[in-house]
Symmetry: C2
Subunit: 299 residues, 2 copies
């Protein structure tokens, strides 16, 4: 971004939260805000007012511009931003902004791909990918973006060829809350125990399916093999271990984990148990990615 | 059962239902009843009264006896009936009844086993196994008992060496109701479409994990690849297909499916797609099994 660029209001509007950062003309994060306002709960026609309410002061800065990534661009979001089909260059995102206000407020497209006739999609992660690679100064890497819907992506020379989704975070939550496992987890404290997490990963790697390994958690609790305070760590290990069991082969590559410190630590442990090297890039990847898109659009 | 045996009140009391059959001295099913009274909802101390209310007329028959299988024998049930550890002979079940009223009302034990240090359990299926083998006139078979928690069991010369559980039915329900898939399934009619079910099975067999294949159902719906009325069949195929992908190898054996006609048909289709022969034995296997236990106890 040139030194004459105006500030950027960078928004990541997902299913469960609206996060924002004010970026300087140099792409530095000046301020951050987060609100529990998922895109799904917003009535049609009220998105603009909501952004004004939470970020109006930032947008009042002369010439301020706004770029948005995430589910805001979905069919059930603010304005639908069509998916870019893979393979696609990450630097092509800037050429396919869906403008809400021309040249001022725009939505970054998500990506789609297809394997064996089955489609796959991401929204928001494409921007984090771009930011993570910029933070690393790389254009080729295997990346995993853990979360509700974990994504594995291979980027070669700035091109996303294909990617794949695992419903890891969401399945952890439903196993914990809505299945027979819930009965073994009543009042279980959510403290992290590394050894129990690792045992869960190993159990899942040996198993053939989460349908099977998850029941093991119930049976272990039933037989008093795992105390209450370790059960959530064990289950977390089982579900993340299932993702590891079925993840893409990365050969000798180091895997770049893009996400929160808490999830990053767990994925790094799980990958180490698979003999895979990894490094973590924090959640600021989204802001770096939106900054990079802005630079391409307005420089 | 000798012709002088009194009638048997056979009960299968599970997590979500209480089913009963009145068996003649010859083991014929004379009457059947079913109630939506899962064992979990019954307050401690009120089990006996509840059985009296629903089956009191049967139990009044002179010398009537009662055998119960299922979750009634769990720690949260009526009276805890300790698990029998595998390997165990199915005909040893009769030697390990937990008596509620001596020699009159008893609970059949469940089975437990252990693989790689992880325990597994069944309650109720052991009785269905016994009954299914009697119905087939066999003592050696590979069996699958589909349901909330699907069980795969190998029986050799009447001995259950080990078994394994898949949370197939339960995970189908939570994926359908509590994940992002629910948004694609609003008002989806629950009609069975064979081609969509088969497509789901094939998709799961090609995938490495349900965490991944289930997300494909969401993406296919998003891209208009599967009409609303076929989505539940597709999801059913994906989840049962995941069980097939990770099931035990049965070599050239025919698999015996023990369960309802509806589930039996689905499992038979899914197994055929894997090149595995199968045959179905109906839900009366539980009554036949309880009859066999009664015969061993009282003959």
């Amino acid at each position: 971004m040139s030194t004459t660029s105006p500030p950027l209001v960078a928004l990541d509007w997902g299913t469960s939260a609206l996060r924002g950062a004010l970026l300087s003309a140099h792409g530095e994060v000046l301020q951050r805000r987060a609100f529990d306002v998922g895109i799904r709960g917003v009535p049609p026609g009220s998105h603009h007012a909501l952004v004004q309410r939470h970020f109006g002061d930032w947008l009042q800065t002369p010439d301020a511009r706004c770029l948005i990534c995430g589910m805001a661009g979905s069919r059930e979001g603010w304005v639908e931003a069509p998916y870019r089909a893979c393979p696609t260059r990450l630097d092509a995102l800037a050429e396919h902004i869906t403008w809400i206000e021309p040249d001022r407020i725009g939505i970054v497209p998500g990506l789609s791909c297809e394997r064996d006739g089955v489609p796959d999609v991401m929204r928001g992660e494409e921007t984090q990918l771009l930011g993570a690679l910029q933070l690393l100064g790389a254009d080729t890497a295997w990346l995993v973006l853990p979360g509700t819907h974990s994504k594995w992506v291979e980027v070669c020379s700035g091109v996303v060829s294909t990617f794949a989704t695992w419903m890891t975070g969401e399945c952890y939550a439903v196993l914990r809350e809505h299945t027979i496992l819930a009965r073994s987890l009543v009042a279980a404290p959510d403290v992290f125990d590394g050894a129990s997490f690792d045992a869960g990963v190993v159990h899942a790697l040996r198993s053939g399916s989460l349908l099977q390994s998850a029941f093991g958690v119930r049976a272990m609790a039933l037989f008093g093999r795992v105390p209450l305070e370790r059960r959530l760590s064990l289950l977390s290990g089982v579900v993340i271990g299932e993702e590891m069991r079925s993840r893409p082969s990365v050969q000798d590559s180091e895997v770049v984990i893009v996400g929160s410190d808490e999830l990053g630590t767990r994925y790094q442990r799980a990958l180490a148990l698979c003999g895979v090297r990894s490094r973590c890039v924090g959640e600021d990847a989204a802001w770096r990615g939106l900054g990079a898109v802005a630079q391409a659009v307005w420089s």
